[in-house]
């Protein structure tokens, strides 16, 4: 399950945000603080998470402290599923 979420999120970010579908994103690679994704992507990410995993994320939760790596984001999703 965790693996499935990780793979889906990584593919979505690489294809939609980075426009580099082949780009591998590791589980603990910083996303927001490294500049790979920026704050304009956060709403897309929350819509993607809601549509794919049925987990609603409050706007205030969209920040680097819970969202900076795939691992953090996956844990966040798993806890609410």
């Amino acid at each position: 399950m965790t693996e499935n979420i990780l793979v889906k999120l990584a593919a979505y970010i690489a294809t939609e945000f980075l426009k580099q579908p082949d780009r591998l994103i590791t589980q603990d690679e910083p996303l927001l603080t490294s500049g790979l994704i920026d704050s304009f992507h956060l709403v897309d990410l929350s819509i993607f998470v809601e549509n794919n995993f049925g987990v609603r994320i409050d706007d205030a939760e969209l920040n680097a402290s819970s969202f900076d790596t795939l691992n953090q984001l996956t844990t966040f999703i798993m806890e609410r599923m």
């Binding site: 426009k19 927001l32 790979l36 704050s39 956060l42 897309d44 205030a60």
Partner: protein, 569 residues
């Protein structure tokens, strides 16, 4: 005589209980501030500025979040006759050392005598200063000034030096971001701003019944002038949200318009795409946009498709087509240069692409030839004249593309402490050289690109040379061999930032590391996210004969290469 302080005093005396500004933040109840509160809060700062030996005419740098402290510190500086300037706050992405470098540069050019910030940020600020050597006499910690209702200073107008400032004295500075922007503070006088507010107020038929709603940052002219000074000085209520809240929850703007019966907003073009694409139906329940009389698209190229998308998405919530309007502006003219007539939607025309590109003439398209859609930014506001000129400064004919030059009674006094660049910004006969290309039809201006090397993302000006300097530091990149430019992205409604850099390494893993390092250094050094990093072999980049990066040539070369490869760009 009227200046900012006499104007504020009048509001304080005539309508003390009127709400000037309502702060609307996520997870906090709405916070209304009356003119009475505003002057009282500002008085506490006047007192502090006096105690710290800050003199009228001194620059006070404000490094604060968009909150009540910023309001009081700003108008405190005004009432004291000092010159406030807002610097963007350090975000979690920016490297502290980079921020310190920017701040040190800003201090060296602008020479502020005081900096106001939070206690938690004080050490960061002090680290950028050189006590005894630079101009800063005081770092004022806003948390230590208690401005709660129970402990408000009664304003003593006799002590407000701001009341005695002359109309031609400088009242504020505006900077755009990045080290280039921070060294180019636009200095504006009381007279220039009042002249602008009067002319622009007329253009938009501003009345006491208006309610302005905004999420725009105050360190940008659109936020500072249209959504902060215009309402507060003209007695029109404004509802302010935080830009950080809006980007995570764009529906909040529409909810605020509905709740407060908002009539006016200013938005950069991308905000129309962003809102149309990212607002869920459930967040619009009960929203009524029928009070909204004008949403003025400005500060980056305006696109009809963005308006269409926005209108289609929200028309069932009471949005009217003629609400979507356009303007062309710049901080050097205080804010607006032109404004579309609010009674009708902006004119839109299809232009022949080839003629536009090769002859530099905007001919209406015919048959099925490829065309470009252009949307008018309206006519000059009443106090402003514009001309479109060729490279010798001669006027060009209608529909011919040339550079826009501007004359008005609301121009900047100077780039602060920069007589060198101030002089270069004007033609010999006093017309301001905008750096923007455009053409005129029936007295209306259509913006047709930029002569100056500037990228605009989401309404924010970015100087490519700042980004390139950062990239030169990345190991593996040839020294001096990188080029940054913007390419318009139709889906997002704004420019993508592209970086091309020359590297010799072939190993794909090492190349990815270099690419990542480029992204990272740009984000952490400038808070700009690169959309695409293109690594190439030496000598790919086009340079001018004097060795400078020819950004538009590099941009064209990049586009061609991507086209050949069949990639998105």
């Amino acid at each position: 005589m009227m200046n900012f302080s006499t104007c504020l005093q009048r509001h304080y005396e005539q309508t003390p209980d009127k709400v000037a500004i309502t702060l609307l933040f996520n997870n906090r109840p709405p916070f209304p501030i009356t003119y009475h509160n505003l002057i009282q809060g500002a008085s506490a700062y006047v007192k502090t500025y006096i105690q710290k030996g800050i003199l009228p005419g001194d620059v006070v740098l404000l490094i604060l979040q968009h909150d009540v402290d910023l309001l009081y510190a700003y108008f405190g500086a005004v009432l004291h006759g000092a010159i406030p300037s807002i610097m963007p706050f350090l975000t979690e992405k920016l490297l502290p050392e980079r921020y310190r470098t920017d701040l040190a540069e800003l201090v060296s050019v602008t020479r502020p005598t005081a900096i106001v910030t939070y206690q938690t940020f004080e050490s960061e600020i002090r680290a950028a200063l050189q006590p005894g050597e630079d101009s800063v006499k005081a770092v004022i910690v806003s948390d230590l000034l208690v401005c709660s209702e129970n402990n408000m200073y009664q304003p003593d107008f006799d002590t407000f030096s701001g009341l005695h400032r002359g109309e031609d004295d400088i009242v504020l500075l505006q900077h755009s971001s990045g080290s280039t922007g921070l060294q180019k503070g636009v200095a504006l006088s009381h007279r220039a701003i009042f002249n602008h507010l009067e002319a622009y107020g007329e253009s938009i038929c501003l009345s006491k019944d208006d309610v302005i709603v905004s999420w725009l940052p105050l360190y940008h002219d659109m936020g500072l002038i249209a959504c902060f000074l215009l309402p507060i000085l003209r007695g029109v209520p404004v509802v302010q949200m935080s830009p950080f809240d809006w980007v995570r929850a764009p529906y909040r703007l529409l909810q605020a318009i509905s709740t407060y019966r908002g009539t006016l907003t200013w938005l950069p073009n991308f905000a129309y795409n962003f809102s149309a694409q990212k607002i869920r139906e459930r967040d619009l329940e009960g929203v009524d946009l029928s009070s909204w009389r004008a949403s003025i698209n400005t500060s980056e190229p305006v696109k009809y498709k963005s308006h269409q998308q926005f209108f289609e998405r929200f028309k069932s919530y009471g949005l009217r087509l003629e609400t979507l309007q356009t303007s062309y502006g710049m901080a050097e003219n205080v804010f607006a240069v032109t404004q579309n007539d609010l009674k009708k939607p902006p004119s839109v025309e299809d232009i022949d692409r080839e003629s536009f590109a090769s002859d530099r003439i905007a001919r209406p398209s015919f048959d099925d030839r490829p065309s470009i859609q252009m949307m008018s930014c309206g006519k000059p506001i009443p106090n402003t004249k514009i001309r479109v000129v060729d490279n010798k400064g001669h006027d060009v004919r209608e529909r011919y593309i040339g550079e826009i030059v501007i004359k008005s009674n609301c121009m900047l006094t100077s780039y602060y402490n920069r007589p060198d660049i101030t002089k270069k910004a004007f033609l010999d006969d006093g017309w301001y050289i905008s750096g923007d290309y455009g053409y005129m039809v029936n007295g209306e201006i259509y913006i047709a690109g930029r002569k100056k090397d500037l990228i605009i993302v989401g309404g924010k000006n970015i100087y490519p040379q700042d980004l390139e300097l950062l990239v030169y530091e990345v190991p593996g990149v040839h020294a001096g061999r990188a080029s940054a430019f913007g390419i318009f992205n139709e889906a997002t409604g704004t420019e993508d930032v592209i970086m091309v850099a020359e590297v010799d390494i072939d190993d794909p893993i090492e190349r990815q590391t270099i690419g990542d390092n480029i992204r990272s250094i740009v984000t952490r050094g400038s808070a700009v996210a690169l959309r695409y990093v293109h690594l190439v072999k030496y000598p790919w980049l086009v340079k001018t004969s004097s060795g400078k990066t020819a950004r538009s040539a590099n941009r064209d070369k990049f586009l061609k290469e991507m086209q050949v490869k069949g990639q998105i760009y």
